[in-house]
Symmetry: C2
Subunit: 111 residues, 2 copies
């Protein structure tokens, strides 16, 4: 049984919907910057705001979106709220997407 058959049996329509939903959450560069920044341990909102140089409401909005897709874990400690990447496999997804994009773009320039 080859990979295609494996995929077709394991990627039914419900799972495709879920995958598409996660992909939508990964479709904004600022959210990817946030995910990458919180991938090596929990970070407070203010830390994210300062480090990524984004407005506080914008970071809050994107964190809400990431929380909606379950891609982040949230934890309160006193006045601070910490966000952390919930599944490290997302990092490999991002790396692969970046690699694929690089290849596709370089191939496009080859006439």
């Amino acid at each position: 049984m080859d990979k295609t058959l494996t995929l077709q049996s394991s990627l039914d329509n419900d799972r495709l919907q879920s995958a598409a939903f996660l992909a939508k959450s990964l479709s904004d560069a600022n959210r990817l910057r946030i995910l990458l920044f919180i991938s090596d341990g929990k970070k407070s909102v203010s830390t994210i705001v300062e480090e990524l140089d984004l407005s506080q409401p914008l970071v809050s909005h994107h964190l809400k979106e990431l929380k909606r897709s379950l891609l982040v874990k949230v934890e309160r400690e006193g006045p601070f709220i910490y966000y952390e990447l919930s599944d490290s496999r997302i990092l490999t997804v991002l790396q692969t997407l970046s690699d694929v994009a690089t290849n596709l773009l370089s191939a496009r320039k080859t006439f």
Copy 2:
């Protein structure tokens, strides 16, 4: 050097933009159905329309989007136009996203 450092050096802002752009192309379930369907060899537009039970203009629209993101290769043969997945690594991305989604959803229900 751990994976995080590797990621931070290889995923600069340009690459994040590219990854986000590809992710956006993967953020629609109908597009994922199309990508999966054309992943085992080129398929004509009409075949996609019939097999996936989508309207012809809708399929055309999504194929245009997939072409814009370079995720498909296009080839004309007489009156037919064939589309094919341009990079099979996209399949592993979809499989991983589906797996992650399944895990995140099942973990959410565990109180």
